[in-house]
């Protein structure tokens, strides 16, 4: 009996693997003898090369490239500001499909000005990159780490903690107004989620084709949302208090993932030399992000929450900004940035779903008007604080 079971099991796997084996044989035959040549175009293939990152060191550029195209690309010459320039490349010469290389060239670049880089392939195809504002790329030292930590604290941690201080306020509200603020939170989060998605798409547009930016976003959003659904089943299984606390934690995690993606973008933009100037925007952002704290405390308004728990929630939501900024500044990868932003968006949409569930369950005193008003207010708050930042 057991023996025949095992046999049936193994037979099932054989049937499962058979098409794969045949596929492998087909690929081998096609590569060895096959009519693949028929599909090859007569014209030379379009080369694709992405300049991921340009580091500016005193008196030199360091250019990191990825070949995201179908064919190997040979970099024959390099131009800076429309002039051929001597360079070194490692590994030298040809970048294989999905391969990377580093090009170093000595150049007296000018602080604060723009420089245009052009890599010329052996077929004469140029790949271009503009350093908008030349400034020395950060080196990893105490000052660099300190600066990015401070930045993370300003735009991530402080606003979240300020928002948490609304807890006593929302605690004193009656159930209709709690419904209003829960909806407001949902509105804030939907705004953040769409925003993260938009950013992910923007970064994805710059990705080499082979990395399939949109596919990456889809995978990131759905997998993170589903994973959190699975996790939340466990967190929100207990009594009402546990459910509410679990929801607050989920919101914190979602916002934290979102902030990680944003931190990456800041760090990267700074080290890529794509920085424009404007100090007041840090303050503007602090105001804008304070709403994130409100989103965390609203579900736990009715619960007694220990101070350490609140601090933990704040850190979960805010601290990833620091981590993201450091990672982005030190080793930016557009692929990772896209993925993080997508994961953040997925997490946020899942949290909105949980919030809606909570509100349905709490709908003992139906106050639909308050909820609609709250949701609209959430969107408006984000929009208006956004305008304030842009001003």
């Amino acid at each position: 009996m057991a023996v025949s079971d095992a046999r049936r099991m193994s037979r099932r796997w054989v049937w499962g693997l058979l098409p794969l084996l045949l596929l492998a044989v087909l690929v081998a035959v096609l590569v060895r003898f096959g009519p693949l040549g028929v599909f090859q175009a007569v014209v030379p293939p379009l080369e694709e090369l992405t300049i991921n990152r340009v580091k500016l060191e005193p008196g030199r550029f360091v250019i990191h490239v990825t070949n995201g195209g179908p064919e190997p690309v040979t970099i024959a010459q390099v131009l800076v500001d429309e002039a051929y320039w001597q360079f070194e490349m490692s590994p030298a010469g040809t970048v294989p499909r999905l391969g990377t290389a580093t090009i170093t060239l000595a150049y007296p670049w000018v602080e604060g000005e723009a420089h245009h880089l052009k890599l010329l392939s052996s077929t004469g195809t140029p790949f271009e990159h503009t350093v908008d504002v030349a400034t020395a790329s950060p080196r990893v030292d105490a000052r660099y780490l300190g600066t990015f930590t401070l930045l993370g604290v300003y735009v991530g941690v402080l606003p979240v903690f300020l928002g948490l201080l609304w807890l006593p306020f929302v605690r004193r509200l009656d159930s209709r107004w709690t419904g209003f603020f829960l909806s407001l939170t949902a509105g804030l989060l939907v705004f953040l989620g769409v925003d993260a998605l938009d950013e992910a798409l923007e970064v994805a547009r710059g990705l080499p084709g082979a990395f399939q930016g949109v596919g990456l976003i889809l995978t990131g959003v759905l997998v993170s949302a589903l994973l959190l659904v699975w996790v939340s089943r466990r967190f929100t299984a207990g009594n009402e208090t546990a459910r509410h606390l679990g929801l607050a934690l989920l919101i914190a995690v979602g916002i934290g993932l979102h902030n990680l993606g944003e931190g990456l973008a800041i760090g990267a933009a700074y080290s890529l030399g794509k920085v424009a100037l404007g100090t007041f925007l840090v303050l503007g952002f602090t105001i804008h992000n304070t709403t994130e704290g409100l989103a965390i405390v609203t579900p736990i308004a009715r619960e007694r929450t220990a101070l350490p728990t609140l601090v933990l929630l704040g850190l979960v939501a805010g601290a990833p900004t620091i981590l993201g900024a450091l990672i982005g500044g030190l080793s930016y990868s557009p692929v990772l940035a896209t993925l993080f932003l997508a994961v953040g968006a997925g997490a946020i949409f899942q949290v909105v779903y949980e919030l809606l569930k909570l509100m349905m369950a709490d709908a003992r005193t139906p106050a639909f008007g308050y909820q609609v008003a709250g949701f609209a207010a959430g969107l408006l708050v984000m929009y208006v604080t956004g305008l304030f930042v842009a001003a």
Binding site: Q86, A106, P108, E111, L151, V155, E202, I266, A269
Partner: protein
């Protein structure tokens, strides 16, 4: 929130890091200038292509081209007049115009520029165009000749189709520095792909003996966006910077200079530490100018004559510095014993 959130953050980051950046700015220029001064050993301060063109594979040596002249197969008519017969084959070939950069060229006799055709004023010329390429071509000579020998589509023989051939016949007049090129449509493409060459008609009495050099100022649009990526004299970017042109001190140097650059209306030459006499189009023995820089429009040409009084290396280049930095720069190596 029209602006992407990330942009705010970027600006925010910049604001916060402003102090840091300013701090660096004070330090940087010094660092940069140290780097620059240490580059003096580097050719042209680092503004140079990396590597060298494989001349064997290219089948073309710009250093030889300078002093190579095709006088054709000469014979005499019963009346004593010299007949010169030339053969030009049009075909397609990838040429290396900067180390590792290949341009899908259309070529006359396998090279860009094509051979320098040379004759004496009054000679009868028969030039056979053999079209071994995939496109129709013509040979259009600058000179004085009959309409049907003008090598223009629709007039006389017009386009010489792939696999066909045609012999152009005309008298070598007037003396001077001319050129030939394909005139098939679209003209811009047929020229910039490489179908051109120098055409020199010596005056009957000849010119004073000199070290003669042919320079065709040309350029290549490698990605076909109607802008050139590579500029040069005689096709290979920076060739004469890497392989200086050796000339003898105090001896007459004669440059046959032709501008065949496409897309940019003008090109120019500047010779360092020297002045030259200019004979525009080479059609007069009286120089029109004594200068160190001249400008030529597309298809314009001039004969330049000079002597180098000092030994050493002297740069020559387009004084459109953009062209210089994109490859149109070379060196004369002036020595007492000279030689090629």
């Amino acid at each position: 929130m029209r602006m992407p959130r990330r942009d705010f953050l970027v600006k925010a980051a910049a604001g916060l890091l402003g102090g840091l950046t300013v701090g660096r700015a004070a330090v940087l220029p010094a660092a940069a200038s140290t780097e620059h001064s240490s580059q003096h050993a580097v050719p042209h301060g680092g503004n140079m292509t990396v590597g060298d063109v494989d001349l064997k594979r290219l089948g073309f040596d710009p250093s030889r081209y300078l002093r190579s002249f095709d006088w054709g197969r000469a014979s005499k008519l019963p009346n004593g007049r010299t007949v010169r017969e030339y053969s030009i084959v049009a075909s397609e070939r990838d040429i290396e115009i900067a180390p590792g950069v290949f341009f899908p060229a259309w070529v006359f006799n396998g090279t860009v520029p094509g051979p320098t055709l040379r004759a004496r004023e009054g000679d009868l010329l028969r030039i056979k165009l053999i079209n071994a390429s995939k496109h129709p071509h013509t040979l259009h000579f600058h000179g004085i000749h009959k309409a049907e020998m003008d090598g223009v589509p629709g007039i006389g023989r017009g386009d010489v189709l792939p696999g066909e051939s045609f012999t152009y016949e005309f008298e070598a007049i007037p003396f001077g520095l001319h050129q030939y090129h394909c005139h098939s449509a679209p003209l811009k493409r047929h020229i910039h792909k490489g179908l051109y060459g120098a055409f020199i008609i010596d005056p009957k009495q000849g010119r004073p003996p000199a070290q003669e050099l042919v320079m065709m100022m040309n350029a290549f649009d490698t990605n076909f966006d109607n802008e050139n990526e590579v500029y040069a004299v005689n096709s290979v970017a920076f060739h004469y910077a890497k392989h200086p042109i050796r000339v003898m001190r105090d001896r007459l140097v004669r440059i046959y200079l032709i501008n065949i650059t496409e897309f940019d209306p003008i090109n120019s030459i500047h010779v360092h530490a020297n002045f030259f006499h200019v004979f525009r189009t080479g059609t007069s023995f009286v120089p029109s100018e004594y200068t160190d820089t001249i400008m030529l429009c597309q298809a314009e040409r001039a004969v330049l004559e000079m002597r180098f009084p000092y030994p050493g290396r002297f740069m020559f280049h387009a004084h459109q510095t953009e062209f210089t930095e994109l490859g149109w720069m070379g060196l004369f190596e002036v020595t007492d014993n000279g030689g090629v």
